[in-house]
């Protein structure tokens, strides 16, 4: 606590020594749930905690003075919300100084001490980031520096120990990254060609009695990348090699690799993007004894479409970092009336497909397939509709068995603006399936009174097997930078995903108050 106050005083007394005053900005996010007992939920996958209250809170303060900035983030878990791994695998601290840093940045040079967020390339080799929805913060406590010479070369380096929930992993991470802009060096102005590479080392001392050959102390990874952009065509490729590392899917340390290739094409209102990825023993943890979604050193998101509709998100794909290969295709197109900008069509087609690695599942099997399309039509200034169709096939045994489940999802979404302030939005959703929980229906109605108020009610109902309603009602109020949302409802057990990474949450019923504010 004393340290905290000391840091704060240091940070805030800085202006006293300078001519200029600088800027203090900050943000507050608080998410609290009061859990109620609900006999309508399946006991096996729902929670009914003794302490009926849970609350995750983040207060972030940043001070900037010219090229210098410093900041802190305080986190309060009072106690941790159900379904967050920090509550399961953390040490149970109620309040922590989650982030502290001081940094200096000018045109060419940047230096930061404290907690570091950084990623190399696509993150396949290394990524430290914060995602509050998932409860991930794997920032590195240490030093980070970068230097760029004009637009030609940029180098980055970092060293430190990674955060694991509310304390630190027993490992050290060192990394370096180099990026060369070949097009700038040779003076090619009509396109872009970049060559990049990274090396990352993770060191965790072996225990004294380490007699088995199942664990390693030094792990090295490297990444080689190419980015190319010319006249509407863009291409990117990345190869990551990983040294021997312990794996849940192997009986002894194994080498891994990852490969990612992407090609995009844009012409006027047409945009096409194809991605291919192969992952082979690429799950990389921060600590040998760590667990859960926060114990991760690299970023392996699911390359599938991420939906905002309830039924399209019921069974999202879980990435198989130790063995999958597959890809995704996206096509976007829009048609616009030249006379009236308020009349347009936005069309989107997406398909994704992934197969398991035969070294792990015995045979390479289909893990996931989703073929979907949506059409958004703005009819006039007042009325807009969207239609989505998605056909999803997924493998409940993660490739160990041939059986797959098929879901056909249909969503109709309409928005009508009464005037500049009042609007209503409604969603109707239907999931047709002969497998697993069979058929679902869902509906949502949202009334907004801009810019401050919004009210919504929704229900998701499984009429196939469980006969369960997942209802919810919510009110939100926004004033400038502060948003309050109060909701009450029943929540299904399943995966909550953000940026293609997911965490499991048990079912619960309760009242939820979320406050976010920035200043």
């Amino acid at each position: 606590m004393r340290q905290l106050i000391f840091t704060l005083l240091c940070v805030t007394s800085l202006p006293l020594f300078s001519q200029e005053k600088g800027y203090l900005t900050g943000s507050l996010e608080s998410n609290s749930i009061y859990y109620v007992k609900d006999n309508g939920l399946n006991k096996e996958n729902s929670v009914d905690p003794d302490d009926r209250f849970g609350s995750n809170n983040y207060l972030k303060l940043d001070y900037t003075l010219g090229k210098f900035s410093a900041g802190i983030q305080l986190e309060g878990y009072l106690p941790t919300l159900q379904g967050y791994d920090i509550g399961l695998y953390g040490s149970g601290k109620k309040a922590i100084l989650g982030i502290k840093y001081a940094s200096w940045q000018d045109e060419n040079f940047a230096f930061r001490v404290g907690d570091i967020f950084e990623q190399f390339g696509s993150g396949l080799v290394f990524r430290s980031y914060e995602d509050r929805t998932l409860g991930i913060n794997n920032s590195i406590e240490g030093v980070n520096a970068s230097y760029n010479f004009k637009n030609y070369v940029s180098v980055k380096g970092l060293y430190g120990r990674p955060r694991l929930y509310d304390s630190y992993a027993d490992s050290w991470i060192r990394g370096a990254d180099l990026s060369l802009s070949v097009s700038d060096i040779i003076g090619w102005n009509s396109g872009l060609l970049n060559l990049e590479g990274s090396v990352v080392n993770r060191y965790e001392a072996l225990p004294e009695d380490a007699s088995n050959a199942l664990i390693v102390d030094n792990l090295n990874l490297y990444s080689a990348r190419l980015n190319f952009d010319y006249k509407g065509i863009n291409m990117a490729a990345e190869y990551v090699g990983k040294g021997k590392d312990a794996s849940f899917n192997a009986s002894k340390p194994v080498q891994g690799h990852g490969f990612l290739a992407e090609i995009g094409y844009n012409y006027k209102a047409l945009s096409v993007l194809g991605t291919y990825r192969e992952l082979n023993y690429m799950n990389t943890t921060l600590a040998r004894n760590g667990r859960g979604v926060g114990n991760v050193m690299n970023y392996l998101p699911a390359l599938t479409r991420q939906y905002t509709y309830m039924l399209a998100n019921l069974n999202p794909y879980q990435v198989q970092g130790d063995g999958e290969r597959g890809g995704q295709l996206d096509i976007y197109y829009s048609i616009r009336s030249k006379e009236d900008r308020s009349k347009y069509w936005n069309l989107h087609f997406n398909a994704s497909m992934f197969y398991s690695n035969k070294n792990i599942t015995g045979k390479s099997r289909l893990l996931w397939r989703d073929i979907n399309a949506d059409v958004e039509r703005q009819w006039n200034r007042k009325f807009k509709t969207s239609l989505l169709v998605s056909v999803q096939e997924w493998n409940p045994s993660l490739g160990f068995d041939d059986e797959t489940y098929l879901s056909n999802i249909f969503v109709l979404d309409g928005l009508y603006k009464f005037d500049r302030k009042k609007s209503i939005r409604a969603e109707l959703q239907y999931l047709y399936s002969q497998d697993y929980e069979k058929d679902w229906v869902a509906a949502l109605v949202e009334f907004s009174f801009a810019p401050k108020w919004s009210f919504s009610v929704s229900d998701m109902y499984n009429l196939g097997t469980t006969d369960t309603h997942y209802y919810s009602g919510s009110v939100s109020y926004t004033r400038k930078n502060t948003r309050l949302q109060l909701s009450y409802g029943r929540n299904r057990a399943g995966y909550v995903c953000s940026g293609g990474v997911c965490r499991y949450t048990p079912a619960y019923t309760g009242a939820n108050l979320t406050v976010t504010s920035s200043f």
């Binding site: 106050i5 996010e29 983040y58 940026g499």
Partner: protein, 162 residues
């Protein structure tokens, strides 16, 4: 007691500074063609609406499509830019870029792959929208989107360009 005194310290600090106007920070982001650019070079000496979005954020899409619809009409009255900042990490940048082009957004599109701008501006929820004046001072900000709230942006733009 300790906790209380600690909270008091924080509150005092906030009170001390809350009148300081915040400014558009200077960090490195990518343009739509992949070139790295300093954010301060993007403003072009005009006021701007800055909107943070992500590929999985539906209200962000609704807001940006609504702004795209009215932008030209507003620009007949006021000279301003719209800057759309994608906070998607590099894995989703290509998709964000495809969406921006596919939806024919006439904005300045920036890609904040390492979320440096997001952190510098303390964005915790998207959509988060700001108005930055020609001097680079942040004069308005709003979290979330409800259909119609874009008109408040227009009112504010008119006010600062008078």
């Amino acid at each position: 007691m300790k906790k209380i005194s600690f909270l008091l310290v924080i509150l005092l600090l906030i009170a001390n500074y809350s009148f300081a106007q915040s400014v558009w920070p200077n960090v490195k982001v990518e343009k739509i063609n992949g070139d790295v650019v300093n954010t301060k070079d993007v403003l072009e000496g005009k006021p701007a609406i800055v909107s943070f979005w992500g590929v999985t954020c539906k209200p962000c899409m609704t807001e940006l499509n609504a702004l795209n619809e009215v932008m030209e009409e507003w620009q007949e009255e006021i000279d301003f830019n719209i800057i759309a900042v994608s906070i998607d990490d590099s894995r989703f940048t290509s998709r964000a870029r495809s969406m921006a082009q596919g939806f024919q957004w006439g904005f300045i599109c920036l890609f904040d792959k390492n979320q440096d701008l997001k952190r510098a501006m303390n964005v915790s929820l998207t959509p988060q929208t700001y108005i930055v004046n020609a001097k680079g001072e942040i004069v308005y900000s709003h979290t979330g989107y409800t259909p119609g709230s874009e008109y408040e942006l227009f009112e504010k733009l008119k006010e600062i360009s008078e």
